[in-house]
Structure formats: C-alpha cells, structure tokens
Symmetry: C2
Subunit: 250 residues, 2 copies
Amino acid sequence: MLEATWRRPTSGAGGDRGESIVAVSGLSGLKTFERKSTSDRISEELRQMIIEGRLRPGEPLAETRIAELLDVSRAPVREALQQLVQQKLLVSARNRGVSVAAFTASDIWEIYDARCAIESHAAGRIIDGGPGTRARATDALRAVLDRLRIALKQGDRRKISAIDLEFHTTLVASAGNSRLDDAYSILSAQTLACINRLEIALPSGEELVDEHGVLIDALAAGERETLLKAINDHLTLAASHLTGSQPSSN
Amino acid sequence: MLEATWRRPTSGAGGDRGESIVAVSGLSGLKTFERKSTSDRISEELRQMIIEGRLRPGEPLAETRIAELLDVSRAPVREALQQLVQQKLLVSARNRGVSVAAFTASDIWEIYDARCAIESHAAGRIIDGGPGTRARATDALRAVLDRLRIALKQGDRRKISAIDLEFHTTLVASAGNSRLDDAYSILSAQTLACINRLEIALPSGEELVDEHGVLIDALAAGERETLLKAINDHLTLAASHLTGSQPSSN
DNA sequence: GTTCTGCCGACTGTCGACAATCGTCAGGTC
DNA sequence: GACCTGACGATTGTCGACAGTCGGCAGAAC
C-alpha cells in the first residue's frame, strides 16, 4: 500500500525549493538544490516502491487515490503513472486505469535475454575500446563488487540485489553508449521488481561474488569469448533460478 | 510546420467512434473500429512527422499552439509530447517546453551501435531457434525485401527508408522477444528521423538489395559468424554513410 | 434457472483557468 | 561602456470540474 509519507514541499503550482541557506562568507558552499517537477518525484517514489517489491503485482493504482494521499492534483500523478507505463512497470487498461505489472516466467526469460543482448554487446565494445577503456571499466566494476561484498555481510536482500544490478549497469555504462544505458535501465528495473517480489533463496554470497569476479577477470584479460560466455551463463543461471525452470524458446 | 489537417472526430471527452454500420443479416462482418485516445492519435501524428523529417531539428513545439491547431485542450497534447520525449524524438527543457531532437554524429553512431547490439543478438537467437525458426524468419524477410525492390523502382525516398527499417524490425521480431522489439522500435524511429532529415544520396538500389540479401542468405544457411559480421558491416557502413565519417570510439 | 437489460458507483479522459518560471529587454547605476 | 536590476510576455506546471466509459449488480423477461 501507498503511504502518505511524501509531502509537497510548497503549496501552489510550479517549481520547488529546498532552500539551503548558507553563511554569507563562503558563497561557494552553495549546494544546488533539487529541482524536480512534482511528477518526476512521484514517478521516482512509485518506481522505487515497485522495484523494491512493496507493491503487489496487479494492484490497481487509481489516480484519484494517489493524488489524495500525496495532496496534489491528478495531473502530475497521471504524468508519473504514464512514465512508469512506458517503462513497463505498470500496465494500463483503457478507461480502467493502471495497475502494477505482473511478470510471468516467459517475461523473465525475455528480460534476461534482452539484458544479455545489451551486456554482451557492451562488453565487446569495452574490449574493442582498448586497454584504457578496459582498465577504467574493471576499476569501476571492482569498486561495485567491493560494495556488494559489504552488502552481503549486512544481509539486506534489497540492497544486495540493487548492488548486483548496479554491477551490470556499470558494465553497460562503461561502453559509453547512452542508448544502451537507457534500454538497460528499463530492463534493470524490471529485473529488480521480479527479484524483490519473489521471496526465493538468494545464491550464497560467495557464489555471487565469484560469478562477478569471473566477469571482471575475463574483462581485465581482454578475453572476449570467455567474457561473453561468462555473461551468458551468469544471466541464464540467474533467470533459471528466478523462474525455477530451464530456458524456453520463448 | 504543423498543419491543422487533423481534427478531433467527436467533440467532448472520452472515446471516439468510427461507427461502421453493417447489414443486419451478417453480424459477423462487424469491424472493431479504432479505439484510440486523443493523446495516442496526436502522438502518432507527431511521431510520423518527425520520422519523415517534416519537422526541423530544434523546432519548438509549444503545447498551446498544437492544442489550438488540433482544436483540443492542452492535456492530451501534453501527454503525447511526453511520450515522444521518452522515445527521445523530442527534447524537453524544464519550463521551456519541448523541441524536436537534433542528432549529432556521435548520436548517430550510438544509435547504430545500439541497433547492432539488438540485431546481432536477435540473429543469434533465431539461429539458436533451429531450422523452423530460421525458415519463418527468412520467409518474412524475403517478403519485406520484395517490397523494398518495388519501392526502389518507385523511387520514393521515405518509403525506401521505411521499408529498409522494416526489414531490420522484422529480423528483430523474428527472435520473438517483445523487449527487444520495444527497444528496437525506439532506435528505429530515431534512425528514420536521421535519414529523412538529411538529404544525402541514398545507396544505389542494387547495393541495398544485395546487402540485405546477404543477411538473408547467411541466416538461411545458419552461418552464425557470417551473419553477425554481415550485420555489423551493414550497420557500420550505413552509419558512416550518414555521418560522412569513420567510426569513433564514442 | 438462465439470459438479457438498465442502472449505479468508480474511475479515467478531457477541459478551461490560474500561478510559477523562464528568456528578453529596457532602464538605471557605477 | 559594462554591469546589474526589474518588469514584460510567453509558456509551462498544476489545479478543480465535468463528461464519458467501464465492470458489477439488481431486476425483468423467457
């Protein structure tokens, strides 16, 4: 359920200000405060709730109700919902509103297959990019892997899955193609939604770290085929783990 | 410029009806008429205008003006524009409205690189799918290629580019992964927008048919490496043709 | 008992209006 | 002349209200 924790910071229309007053002396300390539209903030809030599995699949999200809970008009709510529909986190039925998307096993296979497409290509491009690109990528990935190790010790499922996905997002980002980033972020969100709403056993921490470590090693060594196979295996394994089944043609 | 050719079919809010009255006898002849929201129709109209290069890059698209031209309120126009912003066909500046997206050479390389990611993966999956999948794919692709030949004889640039892209869309669709389809359709639209607003010389008809023919042959034969290389070469060539430059790392 | 019809409540799709924001430009100050 | 300041016009972001559409249910017809 949606909680009314979020509040519109200033009444009335238009922008918002999180005014950060500073001492008169050091003006350089001015922090640029968040300038986001109401709809963007609602969208992010809802997106996070979906991603973290706090909303059940199929749960209807009525514009009126959300608008009341958040004390805003329906217009920005509507806009936010539309964004999430385009990201396939919500499904929309004509004249009957939107509801939280449900993912079937076949959806999960599609998502992981599409992720494989993008990650593999990104990995190839990073290797094409030469030693410099490879080094930057491996550094960034190792940093994420370190944070994954910490999260594993803490045992917070959502944090673990979030950082796991961040690892893959970092890999894609290292290819330096914003179109790939955009496409991947949609798949990443769907993946997290799937993981976090299924309360299945996570792979052991060592497995997770090892699998990602293999990717980094192959990348660092510039072994293209090893890397591509590792990515494919890693994703296939994760998908079969989630669906509890073997890969299907569709 | 936007023209006021489009008209809202029924005044007032809600749905539309293209009422198709039928003879009382054969009720099975009932055609389900188009049920699209106003915003969807506006979105498609604008999308087509952008794709066909009828709107200059950078041209501002004020909500008020479009709403007046189309004789609707700003709400559905706003919704339509937002959809196109998410598809990266328009760019939005906070409090200053949206304008037609401009594509730099680096954008074009990104687009073609991302297309390469998806097409290559789709091609691989089609081959993985076995002879049946391959046969269906090659049949569909040959049909599109035939239509490309006809369009080439007619010499309509926009039709040629549209069918060219349809060939690639068909290839991706043959992999049977709707996520890939969605991602590709965005890239496809951007590609067409780039092609149709640049008035550069098209490759000769024979070149175009031959290049696509090579893809079909490799696919039909199940020669994975040949196919992947052909896709990569085809796209790289097209991108360098569009940008008039060599591939850059970014 | 089954099938159809018409009503009901809830919600969306659309509308017109208002307020905040932005870029521009004239006017004042040093 | 260069710089800052304030007002102006245009446009977006947001709001409240209304009409259309949908699923469900009671009641009539057979």
